[in-house]
């Protein structure tokens, strides 16, 4: 079980929660389960969500493991110059 | 429209071409003669990327008609090095990394060559105002100014 912190706008979709608990071993499973539990997340996942694990932002490494006790933070996937 | 026959000298070579009366020298160089070193950044004489030397005078080739080159001497970036020996300005631009994307570089080199021909020992301020007709968006000009200063001292010593 990992605790996942949502950014403000995503929290609103999760019924005002800023944190949710999910049983997931890696980013791929996290997204799958989030979409199952919160169908409203799906367009956000399609658009791109980045996952910060202990402060390091992962944008594409869906195989990245989610260590127990790690701080998991969801962020919008960004555009750059 | 009937073409205009032009006989001119480009980088020391005699060159003949036909161009339209409303065609710029920049278009002639790039599209008819394959000399694509001069770039079109604006087409209105604001950016200096198409700088060439026409009878010892620095001009934007986008503001000169191809027909106006008749009987005159044109110097472009393609004529700056002697064979495989780079001009000191070219060498110093490389050493100082005075270019990033490099698209303004031919114009800057031509403008700097013209500047040093007229003022072999310019101050920093004279370099900055001498090159103020050329836009660079990458470097902030710092390394360009230093490269020109360095080239000037090398050329004086030569």
């Amino acid at each position: 079980m990992v605790e996942v912190t949502l950014w403000g706008s995503l929290g609103a979709i999760a019924g005002g929660k800023s944190k949710v608990e999910i049983e997931a071993k890696d980013i791929r499973e996290l997204f799958r389960k989030l979409a199952e539990q919160y169908p409203g997340f799906e367009p956000y996942i399609d658009r791109g969500i980045a996952v910060a694990i202990d402060g390091t932002i992962y944008r594409d490494t869906w195989s990245k493991e989610l260590p127990q006790g790690a701080e998991i933070f969801l962020l919008p996937r960004l555009a750059g110059g | 429209m009937a073409g205009v026959a032009v006989l001119t000298t480009i980088n020391g070579d005699n060159v003949e071409y036909l161009c339209q009366p409303d065609e710029t020298l920049l278009d002639v160089l790039r599209d008819r003669l394959g000399l694509t070193g001069a770039k079109e950044g604006c087409g209105t004489g604001d950016c200096g990327a198409c700088s060439i030397i026409l009878d010892d005078r620095l001009v934007c080739s986008c503001l000169v008609l191809g027909a106006e080159a008749e009987g005159r001497r044109v110097e472009t970036i393609e004529g700056m090095a002697h064979g495989d020996r780079l001009h000191p300005l070219q060498q110093k631009f490389l050493e100082h990394a005075a270019l990033q994307c490099g698209v303004c570089t031919p114009g800057f080199l031509i403008a700097a060559k013209d500047l040093l021909a007229k003022n072999p020992d310019p101050t920093e301020e004279e370099i900055r105002f001498g090159l103020a007709g050329n836009l660079c968006r990458c470097t902030g000009y710092d390394k360009i100014v230093r490269a020109v200063q360095d080239a000037a001292s090398v050329m004086k010593g030569a």
């Binding site: 110059g81 | 950044g41 209105t44 990394a97 490099g102 698209v103 031919p106 090159l131 390394k143």
Partner: protein
């Protein structure tokens, strides 16, 4: 495989040196080929017809007269680019932006295009196209567009992210929110509170090379595209999707690129050129004019930002909040969202909240511009921070140092920071001689901090070792400012050979696997990671070949300083084999030697900078002069320090232009009034002083050499640093960027009058 990207301290041989770039000679001799420098046999000239209206319904387009003109080979409208986006809203916006479908949404929006035998015929043909417009009301100002009374630009847009689903459409596409703690409580603890509103005007990336491409579509459905772009693989994907092609049948070659800064991450003309070529059956060259570049490509957001920050007497910030409104052009974006994330990223805050609003306006589609959205947010926040320090009576550097984020701080956008450089850049600025230099009359000093995330992403690199021992490095990230030099240094470092033995090229889309764009300061970060990985894979093969040549076990062969060495006393008499020797024998030991790497370079380290500048203001005219400018920034590890300095200086110069001069000026008719370099004035050589740089190296733990991206952060602090300097010089707080002479004069006069 099994590549370990973690940082490990080492002594470098090649990395950190300053050799001449491999593409340099071509660029100083005029030989380098940019977008417009390429031609194909039988090529036609493409031209685009653009809307003169800021907002208009397109009732009908009659192209029949243009089609009949001698020399015209194809005329296209949106009908020739059918919607194949299959519900992908972002791609639909790109398609609509390439060629208006039902409505023209800004002055300069493409409505039709022609391909003709020469430019003159193409221009004549454009004049023969008849477009029947129904002109609609428009809105170009971000605050005006948010009002209920504003003309609606898209009646299918209902604001996303509101607690209650809106019943009426709006020009606000989305509301986003970030932060933590309780700002209400935080402000309750504050002894001082500063509250200010700020505006910034729209600017353009201002690359000197206009967009240019040559497209050639064959009757068998295959195609070639030569184009100046920051990401040829992304262009291929987008063009293939919009034209209904298979990506593998479209080969995209990136030309040398004459500047991008985010502006060449987006297709505009390329799908149009391909559609023209497909219809005409001949290659088409399409080059934008400068006027088109300004009217229809690029720009960054115009913004309106409110900031409120509170602090105790001892200088501790107790709460910070900001509301950020960013213009997106006529299509949804996430520009305010990025501003909201970056606004307070430099600080350690217990209570912080930012809210962003994405706003549609009748202007070109906003594109990324170097650390997109961050400079405007930093301008507002860093101005307020300076004012707050002044109210408390603290030195602005000390105030920032006291509140700076550090390792373990929860960032204002959410995650907790690893090792970061904001504190060290502030300390370095504080100790810099610039801080102690005397100032004259009407002169002011300003400073500001800046943050950018930096990206990684999908990356692919091939490293081929020739039989002569020279190394070809094929990378897929476009080189926008010297990355071929830095990547050659990395390959040389890893293999233990000379820099000159490596030649790096940017491969086309058919020669290498997919790569994300060169954006988000990712070019050197990502491709160096892939290069290190590829080199390590090649070294394994080199060791295998040496083991074979010696006929000893692989485990007994190590790689050191460009040589295979037989390890252990029993091999005492075996002379080391150089890379050249192993390469020369490769035909007899198993064939070509190469290392490949396909990876996702994640874990880009965030980057911080502190800038200091001195400005003189003429109180009679409002004119300004930049007297001195210093950039301090964390590079993680500077691979080629000269090009790192170049990024610092270039970002600062762009920021100076933005702060003092550059702005899109729209008339009441919604038309852009200054679409040229004469009236949209970017800094020239005589406007600037030398720009001092100081590179700090706080290693990124997620890169083998500690590299962080360096390209973007340098544009984040200048708006604020200059605003603080001008405010100090003029004795009045400047709240509207650019601080052009009329704005400064008006502020001074308002202060005198009031």
């Amino acid at each position: 495989m099994n590549f370990d990207p973690r940082y490990s301290g080492r002594n470098f041989t090649s990395v950190g040196t300053r050799p001449i770039r491999p593409d340099g000679v071509d660029k100083v001799t005029g030989r380098a080929r940019y977008g417009a420098d390429f031609n194909m046999a039988g090529q036609l000239v493409g031209r685009v017809l653009r809307s003169p209206h800021a907002h208009a319904t397109i009732r009908k387009i009659d192209t029949s007269k243009a089609e009949k003109l001698n020399g015209v080979k194809a005329v296209i409208t949106a009908a020739d680019l059918p919607d194949l986006t299959d519900g992908d809203a972002a791609m639909y916006d790109i398609l609509d932006n390439c060629m208006a479908r039902k409505k023209a949404l800004y002055d300069g929006h493409a409505v039709a295009a022609v391909a003709a035998v020469d430019a003159r015929t193409a221009r004549q043909a454009l004049k023969l196209i008849e477009v029947d417009y129904e002109v609609l009301p428009h809105v170009t100002d971000v605050d005006e567009a948010m009002k209920h009374t504003a003309p609606l630009l898209n009646d299918a847009i209902f604001t996303e992210g509101l607690e209650e689903k809106p019943v009426r459409p709006s020009n606000v596409t989305k509301r986003t929110q970030f932060g933590h703690g309780d700002v209400h409580e935080g402000f309750g603890q504050a002894d001082y509170v500063v509250e200010r509103s700020f505006k910034t005007e729209q600017t353009h990336q201002g690359y000197i090379e206009p967009h240019a491409c040559v497209a050639s579509v064959s009757a068998d459905g295959t195609a070639d595209l030569w184009v100046c772009t920051q990401g040829h693989f992304v262009y291929r994907q987008h063009c293939a999707q919009l034209l209904g092609m298979e990506a593998s049948k479209l080969r995209v070659t990136s030309s040398e690129i004459g500047g991008g800064f985010g502006g060449k991450t987006h297709v505009w003309a390329e799908p149009v050129a391909l559609a023209l070529s497909r219809k005409a059956g001949r290659p088409v060259k399409l080059v934008m004019t400068r006027d088109e570049v300004f009217r229809a490509s690029g720009p960054t957001s115009a913004t309106s930002i409110d900031v409120r920050i509170g602090a105790r007497k001892d200088g501790t910030i107790t709460a910070a909040e900001a509301t950020l409104r960013y213009s997106c052009g006529p299509y949804a974006g996430m520009w305010a969202e990025i501003g909201a994330m970056t606004a307070f990223a430099c600080y350690r805050l217990e209570n912080v909240r930012t809210v962003g609003y994405e706003v549609l306006v009748s202007r070109p589609k906003t594109a990324a511009y170097r650390a997109p959205s961050a400079p405007m947010a930093a301008f507002a926040v860093e101005s307020a921070v300076d004012e707050l320090a002044k109210e408390i009576g603290m030195d602005p550097v000390e105030f920032r140092i006291k509140n700076a984020a550090q390792e373990g701080t929860r960032s204002s956008y959410g995650p907790v920071y690893g090792p970061i450089g904001i504190g060290p850049t502030l300390e370095a600025a504080k100790n810099h001689p610039h801080m102690k230099a005397p100032l004259g009359k009407n002169q002011g000093r300003g400073m500001a901090c800046g943050f950018w995330f930096n990206f990684g992403g999908q990356t692919c690199t091939d490293l081929n070792i020739g039989m002569d021992g020279s190394v070809s490095l094929a990378v897929g990230t476009v080189d926008v400012g010297g990355s071929r030099a830095s990547l050659s240094l990395v390959a040389a470092e890893e293999l233990g050979i000379a820099y000159e033995q490596v030649k790096a090229v940017v491969a086309d889309t058919s020669s290498l696997g997919y790569n994300d764009m060169t954006d988000g300061s990712r070019g050197t970060f990502s491709s160096s990671m892939a290069t290190i990985s590829a080199a390590r894979n090649a070294i394994k093969i080199l060791r295998e070949r040496a083991a074979q040549m010696w006929d000893i076990p692989l485990d007994d062969v190590v790689w050191e300083k460009g040589h295979a060495i037989a390890k252990g006393e029993k091999y005492g008499n075996l002379a080391a084999l150089s890379l050249r020797e192993i390469a020369a024998a490769s035909g007899k030991t198993g064939g070509p030697i190469a290392g490949h790497s396909e990876l996702v370079a994640d874990g880009a380290g965030v980057s911080f900078a502190t800038h200091v500048c001195d400005i003189e203001v003429d109180p009679e005219t409002g004119a300004t002069r930049v007297l001195r400018y210093t950039v301090v920034q964390d590079a993680g590890k500077a691979v080629h320090p000269t090009y790192v300095e170049g990024q610092y200086q270039g970002g600062a110069a762009q920021g100076i232009g933005w702060a003092l001069n550059e702005e899109y000026i729209y008339g009441k008719d919604g038309r852009l009034q200054n679409p040229g370099f004469l009236d949209y004035r970017i800094p020239v050589c005589s406007d600037l002083p030398m720009i001092d740089t100081q590179i700090l190296e706080i290693p990124n733990p997620n890169h083998p050499y500690g590299v962080r991206g360096v390209g973007e952060t340098s544009i984040v602090p200048p708006l604020a640093a200059i605003a603080n300097a001008v405010s100090n010089a003029a004795g009045v707080r400047m709240t509207h960027i650019p601080m052009s002479p009329p704005r400064i004069l008006a502020a001074i006069e308002a202060e005198r009058g009031g």
